[in-house]
């Protein structure tokens, strides 16, 4: 029987920041009467409740300023919530900023001991892991050099390797995995996979939906201090993207009207459907295009993405040599993508209108979605039909 007790419980946490600009005594005295009113309130978190079980990997995503880093800091105990409570158990290591606590004037070796102590390791334990830490970081040659002479990559390597060697039960990571060169990043990812296998809990803040989709089994989407989604990663990333899309649309609407109206073509309704045949599955994308102003030579582009944002396919009609009607009014274009060999699941369609010169006139990301039926055999992003030959004769 597997048990997964809670490792962190966040209960109804809110955090208010007061933004006041006057810091010095003089300014405070000058604005004494008005100071209270001048202080602007800002709720970084509002009534957030979260129960994190051991062994899960939770991704916190959201726009800049949505409160995800604040939430991570509250869990880490760095910021105290204005109301609500956080309880936690087990050893925690926080990688909120790589190399926090590194002293530029000390050597790498001294900093390893210092940083390990900050993360809660005593001297004997650090001695035990020291070689492992240095080896993982791959900067053996420079371990006795002062860290101020390190490149930023070396800095990051050393800090990450200290943090992963302190044997945390709970690892908090804030957008730091994106640094370092590719081999080192791969090493980090392997280490994280190892952590997951060992039943450690990871909470990470990331802007890369790709990374979140790959690593997390639970995604929390933050928006303006509140949780707007908690659960399935693919769904979470969709919510996040919809949020971005909404922002984009709002932004366009907020822009001067002529900028919006100046569009010669707009994408109307987009619909995608799968046609499951006996031996192949086709996807038909039906798009209504509104031509507001005759635009000769326009074309349409269609792309398929996974819900996690991986682009699988993109095409446009320019090389097909088709002329689209350029008269004012509504036109319907149907693009058939025949014999799609994709694994079961949901896929997103994006549609764009443009000119052969490369100019995009209108586009609609994640405009429609289609489902692929369950795989006949195997699972994954590709739909394959493996054949089997036992003891094949050598040709």
């Amino acid at each position: 029987m597997t048990i997964s007790p809670s490792i962190v419980q966040v209960d109804d946490v809110s955090k208010r920041f007061m933004l006041h600009k006057d810091k010095s005594l003089k300014e405070r005295l000058m604005f004494m009467g008005r100071a209270r009113k001048q202080a602007e309130e800002f709720w970084a978190l509002r009534d957030v409740s979260l129960d994190i079980k051991t062994g899960t990997t939770v991704g916190l995503v959201g726009h800049n300023g949505s409160g995800k880093s604040t939430l991570l800091k509250v869990v880490g105990g760095i910021i105290q919530p204005t109301s609500g409570s956080v309880v936690r158990r087990g050893r925690m290591a926080a990688l909120l900023e790589l190399g926090a606590g590194f002293h530029p004037d000390l050597s790498g070796r001294e900093n390893v001991y210092l940083n390990a102590a900050i993360l809660g390791l005593n001297r004997q334990e650090t001695d035990l892991h020291f070689d492992e830490i240095v080896e993982f970081s791959g900067i053996e040659e420079f371990i006795d050099t002062q860290v101020k002479f390190y490149s930023s990559g070396m800095y990051v390597r050393l800090a990450f390797s200290v943090a992963v060697h302190v044997d945390p039960d709970l690892l908090l990571v804030d957008e730091v995995l994106a640094v370092g060169d590719e081999p080192f990043q791969r090493k980090c990812m392997d280490k994280i996979a190892e952590f997951q296998a060992e039943g450690r809990t990871i909470v990470l803040v990331s802007h890369s939906s790709d990374q979140v989709g790959r690593l997390c089994d639970r995604v929390v989407v933050m928006h303006a201090g509140s949780m707007i989604h908690d659960g399935d990663p693919a769904e979470g990333i969709r919510v996040l993207r919809d949020g971005y899309e909404e922002d984009r649309v709002n932004h366009i609407k907020a822009a001067p009207p002529e900028a919006y109206e100046a569009k010669r073509l707009t994408v109307g309704e987009v619909e995608a459907r799968t046609v499951v045949g006996s031996d192949q599955t086709d996807v038909i994308v039906r798009t209504t295009v509104d031509v507001h102003e005759p635009t000769p030579g326009w074309g349409i582009g269609v792309a398929i993405d996974t819900p996690l944002g991986l682009r699988l396919y993109a095409m446009n009609t320019f090389t097909m040599g088709t002329d689209f009607p350029s008269t004012r009014g509504r036109h319907v274009v149907e693009v058939t993508l025949p014999d799609i060999r994709l694994g079961a699941g949901k896929y997103l369609i994006s549609v764009g209108l443009g000119l052969p010169t490369g100019e995009t006139i209108d586009r609609r990301g994640s405009a429609a979605a289609f489902d692929m039926p369950s795989d006949v055999f195997g699972a994954g992003i590709l739909r394959l039909e493996p054949r089997l030959d036992i003891n094949p004769r050598v040709a």
């Binding site: 597997t2 048990i3 997964s4 007790p5 809670s6 490792i7 419980q9 920041f17 810091k23 010095s24 005594l25 003089k26 405070r28 051991t54 062994g55 800091k73 509250v74 869990v75 880490g76 105990g77 760095i78 910021i79 105290q80 409570s85 956080v86 309880v87 936690r88 158990r89 087990g90 926080a94 909120l96 900023e97 926090a100 606590g101 002293h103 004037d105 000390l106 001294e110 001991y113 210092l114 102590a117 900050i118 993360l119 005593n122 001297r123 334990e125 035990l128 002062q146 044997d167 039960d169 296998a197 060992e198 039943g199 450690r200």
Partner: protein
């Protein structure tokens, strides 16, 4: 530390109690928790102190010698300017030792207070990014101060031996009392000031000014006999003697400045110095506790104010 598999880990975690994150702000209950937390981080405290000391003189070729140059140059200045030019040395026997004793204990106090005041701001990188009991930073300044103090004390003892005034008298027992008094009082101030400075940066400049005033308000470059002659027996003298730093300076002089007791006929020490020191010690201890509670209250918002 063996590698645990997922299930063992989950089992172990299930048995651990869920603890609230951050510091308890309860006035009485919080103290014990804070002390336990600091105790758990004592190794880190040691490392931070060492980091400060090492980093301070890392790239200078003379290194640690510099930590002695400042008090020694002060000693020279006061010895010539005040002792010889203004002529105080005529009334104060062994004037060099007298001044150095005062400067040594004063140096400890200023370092605890002034670097303690800045300790949170100077470590903002850590405060903002990692959770530690933040008391560690003012306490780290205390450690750095004690390190410099002990270096100077060694020189002081060497000097007394060289001048044939070996301080091996019963009065030497006053020294630990005086030092402890400065430590408690200075740390209490450092706790409060370091926390308040985060919210009100003017404090750091105010502290500099206040320290200069207190320096001249303590019998460091002049002896207590002058004070006694000027305001002896009045309530002003009581105020003068209510200063814990003054009492500690006097206590150190009692312990290490033999000439003050043996060669001088003047009243260099108040008669009830020991009693006053004990009282001051008790008050400082209470102040330290109150200071820690204030600190604990204020530290919750450090990360966002820095």
């Amino acid at each position: 530390m063996s590698r645990l598999n997922a299930e063992e880990r989950a089992l172990r975690i299930a048995q651990e109690p869920l603890l609230p994150v951050g510091q308890s702000t309860g006035f009485v209950t919080g103290t014990g928790a804070s002390i336990r937390e600091i105790w758990a981080h004592r190794q880190l405290l040691g490392l931070l102190v060492r980091r400060e000391i090492k980093a301070r003189y890392k790239d200078s070729s003379l290194g640690l010698v510099w930590s002695l140059v400042k008090p020694l140059s002060q000693l020279l200045v006061y010895y010539f300017a005040i002792g010889q030019v203004l002529g105080l040395a005529r009334n104060i026997p062994s004037f060099a030792i007298f001044v150095f004793v005062g400067l040594t204990i004063w140096g400890l106090f200023t370092e605890i207070v002034s670097s303690g005041t800045m300790s949170i701001i100077n470590n903002s990188g850590l405060v903002k990014k990692v959770y530690l009991p933040r008391e560690i930073f003012p306490l780290g300044s205390l450690g750095g101060g004690l390190f410099n103090f002990s270096l100077q004390l060694i020189i002081l003892i060497g000097a007394t031996i060289a001048m044939g005034q070996i301080p091996l008298t019963p009065d030497l027992a006053v020294a630990p009392l005086a030092v402890l008094n400065v430590i408690l009082f200075g740390t209490a101030l450092a706790m409060i000031l370091s926390a308040v400075t985060v919210y009100l940066r003017d404090i750091q400049h105010l502290v500099e000014v206040a320290l200069t005033v207190v320096f001249w308000g303590s019998p460091i470059v002049y002896s207590y006999s002058f004070v006694n002659a000027a305001i002896g027996g009045t309530w002003l003298e009581q105020i003068y003697l209510a200063n814990p730093v003054t009492l500690s300076v006097l206590g150190m002089q009692k312990a290490f400045w033999l000439a003050g007791t043996t060669e001088s006929t003047q009243m260099n020490f108040p008669p009830d110095l020991i009693v006053r020191l004990w009282i001051s010690l008790a008050i400082s201890a209470v102040l330290l506790w109150v200071g820690q509670r204030i600190f604990s209250r204020l530290q919750g918002n450090f990360a966002q104010e820095l």
